[in-house]
Symmetry: C2
Subunit: 390 residues, 2 copies
């Protein structure tokens, strides 16, 4: 199949592109480079050194003999999207090209507006390009489990069979997300469902959990193929960040009591899930949702686990929660659809954590301790990156 | 109370501003004039002649002795919103300042993007200005009944008490709207609910039905105080448009079989509802939704009614439906909250229709028959205003 990966220079976009290429698909990536620009704005950098996009695709061709075409441009530029879609003629578009950080979206008004406009307009451009395409294109869109929030009922996969006052319907699962970023994905989901309904498009919305891990089989084949690894308060995901704190000898920080339960998954499962979605497409007119995670953990459970594996002397510290969220809540989310398609999960093991600890130790001189602690307070409308919360 | 009406130069914004002023509130309006610019783009104009915003507020001061301050600017300009909110210091902000036409949003990609960016960013700017305000401000936001779509269950007022697998929660009522415009209001609703949750803002989301009627007590006091009346395919609402067709001696067109059922209300009830919402504010942290309509009618029922009142010779014509929507469906929407606050509805009467027929007859020379019939096809991603659908 011909697969276009939008946002193919990012943490998961790059890893997904390589995996799709490795298994034999004809892959192209498109990226504006904005994720690297966010690093400059935030004064941080990937813990693992990464090559330029040109170096990456060149190295992949040398290592694998497979070519990944790279287009540089912004999905918010409709002309770019149309040109790439027209030129590459994909069977599937995997859409990672969104601002993906909740804290980034909560810095201030300008960052909230940037996040929502960037994400919503990019996705609208993709939907219009698909609808205008002569051949059918399957959209595989990265959503987030955070779209659901933490309802007091079981979370289903996107849709809900509902009975009310003696009548019933199948409705989109009610959403109550926790940041302007998560909201942008809810907006996308509604827009995509509508586009499937009126234009007969085919879409899979991958409501992904929190990803951990530094490498996949493909990114590990050469240092230039490494994907980025973030540990900062803005783009770092929780397990990756804790591992870096352990290497620094700092306490592992949990926000509040750490009782927040979230669906999580290994980066190797992310790329497998994307592949499964691509290879088992939605049908024309179908808007389907897969909850893309493998296990549920509380933040506190993760911290306990990392502390145990990292060894004696590693402590856990509760810090004032910069977010507005429940840290004691019910959480039970369905996640069977990807398993039904054949996903074989990598559950979290001590080895996974050890490998991450090794990676962080290798690149310890690249760690900037100043970017780890949270300074973006959900309750404030005007945050400054340098000022600690609490 | 001090009330700022955003979009105060439009069909309902102007009428609401005058009503709030008439009953003794200190009122300011803010408007960019974009609604008049849409007229230029679409080659149409209000059926009833309207004064400039400066003429309107001048006339109102002469007629009523009350001053309405007018600010000219765009709510997408955050600096403008902050300056007006800071300068006027409202107790309540009534937010009509959105692109409000479903067909307009479905013209093509550019119009879809304009609608969503304009509406979402404007509302984000208002939310941030409220959160940054030293004094509490109550947001009264115009949503639409179209956010719900036509579910097979009863529609509640914004929230739904839900039981699922033996557990229960109160969730946002699931939305499944029918255009990029309606989607923009769904996006707003989610953003507003979040802002109330994290910042303790107070908001009332008025999910309004389809409005008919040409005048309120206040707009009728002087010709310069008249509010605009639209009959074109893009901005004209169904009853107003049918009345114009009757005056032209053309068949009253229904889309498909006309079986679409919608909540509807008289413009005099719109201004009363807005006043009730303002005078009975939400409390800090509360996001509440009122379904703002008084009666449910199918489009066919409306056409039959207009035909009967307009007299012999008026026929009804089914035209291919340019929209993607069910024209046979269940529809039963709650609308008790505004009644509980004291709304005394103006049900649709033959007199209301006769008055509208008289208005259209008076301005018959201003009717452009070419702008009535639908040319914007929901199934197309690239519509041209001059080309009929079907």
């Amino acid at each position: 199949m011909r697969v276009l990966v939008l946002g193919g220079d990012g943490y998961l976009g790059w890893a997904s592109a390589l995996h799709l290429s490795a298994v034999g698909h004809v892959v192209a990536v498109a990226d504006s480079g904005v994720r690297r620009a966010y690093d400059v704005e935030l004064g941080t950098a990937s813990l693992v050194p990464i090559g330029s996009l040109a170096e990456r695709v060149g190295c992949w061709e040398e290592v694998s003999g497979r070519r990944v075409e790279a287009f540089v441009g912004d999905v918010c530029d409709a002309g770019f999207v149309e040109a790439v879609m027209g030129g590459f003629a994909p069977d599937a578009v995997v859409h990672f090209a969104e601002q993906r950080s909740a804290p980034y979206s909560m810095i201030d008004r300008a960052h909230a507006v940037h996040t929502q406009v960037n994400n919503v307009v990019g996705t609208l451009n993709v939907l219009y390009a698909m609808a205008g395409s002569a051949r059918p294109v399957h959209l595989v869109k990265l959503g987030t489990m955070g779209e659901y929030g933490t309802p007091n009922i079981d979370i289903e996969e996107g849709w809900l069979e509902l009975s009310h006052k003696g009548r019933s319907d199948r409705v989109l699962f009610p959403k109550r997300p926790g940041s302007f970023y998560h909201l942008s994905k809810v907006h996308d989901s509604h827009n995509i469902e509508f586009a499937c309904r009126v234009w007969g498009l085919a879409a899979t919305d991958l409501n992904q959990g929190v990803v951990y891990g530094a490498a996949t089989e493909e990114t590990a084949r050469h240092p230039v193929l490494a994907t980025r690894l973030d540990y900062d308060q803005v783009f770092g995901t929780v397990l990756n960040r804790m591992v870096v704190q352990a290497v620094l000898g700092e306490p592992l920080s949990v926000y509040g009591t750490g009782g927040q339960v979230r669906g999580m998954l290994d980066i190797r499962d992310t790329v497998a899930c994307v592949r499964l979605a691509v290879e088992h497409p939605a049908v024309a007119g179908e808007y389907r949702v897969f909850n893309q995670f493998t296990e549920q953990w509380s933040v506190r459970q993760l911290a306990d686990r990392v502390a145990r594996v990292a060894g004696p002397g590693v402590t856990i510290e509760e810090v004032p929660n910069p977010r507005v969220e429940a840290d004691r809540h019910y959480y039970n989310a369905a996640h069977t659809k990807l398993l039904d398609l054949g996903l074989r999960p990598h559950p979290l093991t001590d080895t996974t954590i050890t490998t991450l600890l090794d990676t962080a130790t290798t690149h310890r001189d690249r760690i900037n301790p100043a970017v780890i602690h949270p300074t973006i307070d959900w309750r404030s409308t005007s945050n400054h990156l340098g000022v600690p919360v609490g």
